[in-house]
C-alpha cells in the first residue's frame, strides 16, 4: 500500500506541530522518521494512523483519500511506544483482540481466531507463551506481542512509534535485525519513528529527517550521511564540525586567512565537515591551532583544536592518526578533504 501525505499541517492549540509536510511512501518500503524530540515525527505517524486529525492537508492510501477515515476504517497496524498491551488479558487474548471485536458478519469463528492468534505468536517466535500476562514478559517479548497484535488485523500498513525506545541496548540490536527480517518476509509498507540515527540508518530503506515540524531531507542512508542538504541534517546525523567562513574570489577564508579550499560563490557561509574527513598538513594554507584536548577512540584519536582568535575561539574535533603527536598545546594544521558550504 502506497501512502501519500500531501501538504499536511497540524496545529495543537494554535502551535504548529507540522508545517505543510508532503511525503510519498512507496509500497513495501521500510521508512524511518528520524528527528529530535519536538520535530513532529510522532505527530506525522499518528496522522497517518488517523489517531490525530490534520488541521489542513490530505493523506492518501493508494489512490483513496483517507484523510477523513476513522482509525478503524484505515486498517493500520500501530505499535505503540510503550506497547499499550492490555494488562488484564493473556498474550493470546491480546493478539486475538483485533479479530474478536470485528462486527458479527466479519468475525471468524472462535476456533479460527485462536488458530490465527497462535500462528501469529509463532511468527514472532513466542510459541508457548500464549497463557502468560504482559507483566510476565520481558521488554523484547512485549514488543513482539504488540507487533503480533497489530498484525492480527491484517493491516495494509505497519506503523511503529519508537519501537525500540524502551529496550536495553543489546535487545534493541537483536530486535532491529529481527524487524528488518520480518519486514522482508511480510512485505508490509512499514513506517517507524525513531530519534536514534544509528537505528534509522541501519534499518530503513529511506530515512526522513525531520526538524521543527518540517521535513529536512528524504533519502537513503548514504544520501543523508554523505550528501546532507542542510546544516541541520549535517550536524544531526553523524559527527560534524562547523566554522563560520567567508568566500572571497573563489577561495574560502577562515578568520581572515585562506584555508586552501575553493568555492564557486562568494559570500558569508558556514563550512561543515566530518572529523574523519580531514588530512593533517605540514605546510600550505589550512587551519591551524593548538590542541586543547584529545581522546582515544578505538583505532583512532580525536583531537579538539582551538581555532580563531583567543577572544572568540571556535573548537572543532578532527580525527588524527595514532602516531601523530597531539598532546595538549601542540599545534596542528589540517585541511578538510570532504566538506560542504551552506550560505
Amino acid at each position: 500500500m502506497e501512502i501519500r501525505v500531501e501538504k499536511i499541517r497540524k496545529e495543537f492549540d494554535l502551535y504548529p506541530a507540522l508545517h505543510d509536510v508532503s511525503l510519498k511512501i512507496e509500497s513495501g518500503e521500510l521508512i524511518a522518521l528520524l528527528g529530535p524530540s519536538g520535530s513532529g515525527k510522532t505527530t506525522l505517524l499518528r496522522l497517518i494512523a488517523g489517531l490525530e486529525q490534520p488541521t489542513q492537508g490530505r493523506i492518501f492510501f493508494g489512490n483513496e483519500d483517507a484523510s477523513y477515515r476513522s482509525v478503524q476504517e484505515r486498517n493500520v497496524g500501530f505499535v505503540f511506544q510503550h506497547y499499550a498491551l492490555f494488562r488484564h488479558m493473556s498474550v493470546l487474548d491480546n493478539v486475538a483482540f483485533g479479530l474478536k471485536v470485528r462486527p458479527k458478519g466479519q468475525r471468524p469463528p472462535k476456533a479460527e481466531i485462536r488458530r490465527r492468534a497462535l500462528e501469529l505468536l509463532e511468527m514472532v517466535q513466542l510459541n508457548g507463551l500464549e497463557k502468560r500476562f504482559p507483566s510476565q514478559l520481558s521488554g523484547g517479548q512485549r514488543q513482539r506481542v504488540a507487533l503480533a497484535r497489530a498484525m492480527a488485523i491484517e493491516p495494509k500498513v505497519l506503523l511503529l512509534d519508537e519501537p525500540f525506545g524502551a529496550l536495553d541496548a543489546k535487545v534493541r540490536k537483536e530486535l532491529r535485525r529481527w524487524l528488518r527480517d520480518f519486514h522482508d518476509r511480510t512485505g508490509h509498507t512499514t513506517v517507524f519513528v525513531t530519534h536514534d540515527q544509528e537505528e534509522a540508518l541501519e534499518l530503513a530503506d529511506r530515512v526522513v529527517v525531520m526538524s521543527q515540524g518540517k521535513i529536512e531531507q528524504v533519502g537513503s542512508s548514504d544520501d543523508v550521511y554523505d550528501r546532507p542538504n542542510s546544516p541541520f541534517v549535517f550536524s544531526f546525523i553523524g559527527e560534524s564540525a562547523s566554522l563560520p567562513v567567508k568566500v572571497e574570489g573563489g577561495v574560502v577564508h577562515f578568520h581572515g586567512a585562506p584555508t586552501g579550499l575553493t568555492a564557486q560563490r562568494d559570500g558569508e557561509a558556514r563550512l561543515f565537515f566530518r572529523p574523519q574527513d580531514v588530512s593533517l598538513i605540514e605546510e600550505g594554507p589550512g587551519m591551524t591551532g593548538p590542541v586543547t584536548s584529545s581522546r582515544r577512540l578505538a583505532g583512532t584519536r580525536i583531537a579538539e583544536i582551538e581555532l580563531g582568535s583567543p577572544e572568540k575561539p571556535c573548537h572543532v574535533e578532527v580525527e588524527v592518526p595514532l602516531e601523530a603527536s597531539a598532546s595538549n598545546g601542540s599545534i596542528l594544521s589540517f585541511r578538510p578533504t570532504r566538506w560542504k558550504l551552506f550560505y
Binding site: 476513522s70 482509525v71 478503524q72 505503540f80 499499550a84 492490555f86 483482540f97 483485533g98 471485536v101
Partner: protein, 284 residues
C-alpha cells in the same frame, strides 16, 4: 559489622517504639473499639429475643427499607456520575477542568447540614420553586426524593475521587490501541477501560455505599423525621434513643456497625489483593 549492632538510621530505639505503639493502641481501644463493643453489648443487654424484636418493630423495618432504597438509588447514580466525570477529566483536555475537579470535591468540604439546608431552601414550601412543585403535587423536601438528593450530593465524590487519579495515570494509550485494532468506542470502554479500573470502581462504590447508608447530617435536615415514612436508619437510631428505647436504638445501630465492619473487611481484601491496581487512588 554484625547485624544486631547495626542501627537503621530511621528506626527509633526499642523503648520509643513500644511507647508509640502502646499509645496508638490505647487510643484506638478507647475511641474505636470501646464504642463498637458498647453498641453490641447494649443491643444484646436484654438478650437475643429483645434484639430480634427491636429489629422487627414496624418503624425499624421501614427505616431499614428506606435506607436500602436510598442507597440503591444514590450509589448507582454516583457510579455513573463518577465514571462520567473521571472519564471526562482523565481522557480529555478542556477548559475549566481544574474547576470541575474542585467542584467534585465540594461535598467533602461543605458541612452536610449546609448541603441539606440548601435543598430545603431550594425546594421547601417557602422557596422560589416551592409553589411550582406544590401545584404539580411534587413533594421533595420532607419526603424520599429530598433524602435521595441529599445523599447523592454528600456521596458524590467517592467514586470520582477513586477513579480520577487511576485513569489519569493510565492515560489513553490502551483505548487508542483498542480502536487502532478496530474496536468501536463501546467495545474499547467495555473490554479495555472497565477491566483496567474495575477494582478501583468497586472500592469507590463500597465507600460510597457506606457513606450513603450512614449519612446523618444532610438527611436529618431534609427528612422532617416522620416516623415510618422519612426516617432512615441513622435518624431512627436517634429517635429511639431520645425515647429512652436503648435496646431498640442500639439494635439498629448494630446493623450500621456491621455494615461498617463489612466495608472495612472488603476494603482490606481489595487493598491487599489489588493494591497496585488501585494505584494512586488512596487519599482518604
Amino acid at each position: 559489622m554484625s547485624n544486631e549492632r547495626f542501627k537503621n538510621p530511621i528506626t527509633e530505639s526499642a523503648p520509643v517504639r513500644w511507647a508509640l505503639i502502646a499509645a496508638v493502641l490505647a487510643f484506638l481501644a478507647l475511641f474505636v473499639l470501646t464504642p463498637l463493643v458498647i453498641v453490641f453489648t447494649e443491643a444484646f443487654s436484654k438478650g437475643w429475643e429483645e434484639y430480634i424484636l427491636a429489629l422487627q418493630e414496624p418503624d425499624a423495618v421501614k427505616a431499614i427499607r428506606l435506607t436500602l432504597l436510598v442507597a440503591a438509588i444514590a450509589v448507582p447514580a454516583n457510579l455513573l456520575f463518577g465514571l462520567a466525570a473521571s472519564w471526562a477529566i482523565a481522557k480529555f483536555e478542556f477548559r475549566g477542568k481544574s474547576f470541575l475537579i474542585t467542584l467534585i470535591d465540594l461535598p467533602f468540604s461543605v458541612s452536610p447540614v449546609i448541603s441539606g439546608l440548601v435543598y430545603v431552601l431550594l425546594f421547601g414550601a417557602n422557596s422560589v420553586l416551592g409553589p411550582i412543585l406544590k401545584s404539580h403535587g411534587l413533594q421533595i423536601v420532607f419526603a424520599v426524593p429530598g433524602i435521595v438528593l441529599a445523599t447523592i450530593f454528600v456521596t458524590f465524590p467517592f467514586v470520582a475521587r477513586e477513579l480520577i487519579p487511576l485513569m489519569q495515570d493510565q492515560g489513553t494509550g490502551d483505548e487508542e490501541a483498542a480502536i487502532s485494532l478496530g474496536a468501536n468506542g463501546w467495545q474499547a470502554f467495555w473490554y479495555v477501560t472497565v477491566p483496567n479500573i474495575k477494582w478501583a470502581l468497586l472500592y469507590g462504590v463500597l465507600l460510597c455505599n457506606a457513606r450513603a447508608m450512614g449519612e446523618f447530617g444532610a438527611v436529618s435536615v431534609v427528612s422532617g423525621h416522620i416516623r415510618g415514612l422519612t426516617n432512615t436508619m441513622p435518624l431512627h437510631v436517634e429517635i429511639l434513643y431520645n425515647d429512652y428505647n436503648v435496646v431498640g436504638a442500639f439494635a439498629v445501630a448494630s446493623l450500621l456497625a456491621l455494615l461498617a465492619l463489612l466495608t472495612l473487611v472488603l476494603r482490606t481484601i481489595l487493598e491487599t489483593r489489588y493494591g497496585s491496581e488501585l494505584s494512586a487512588g488512596q487519599k482518604h
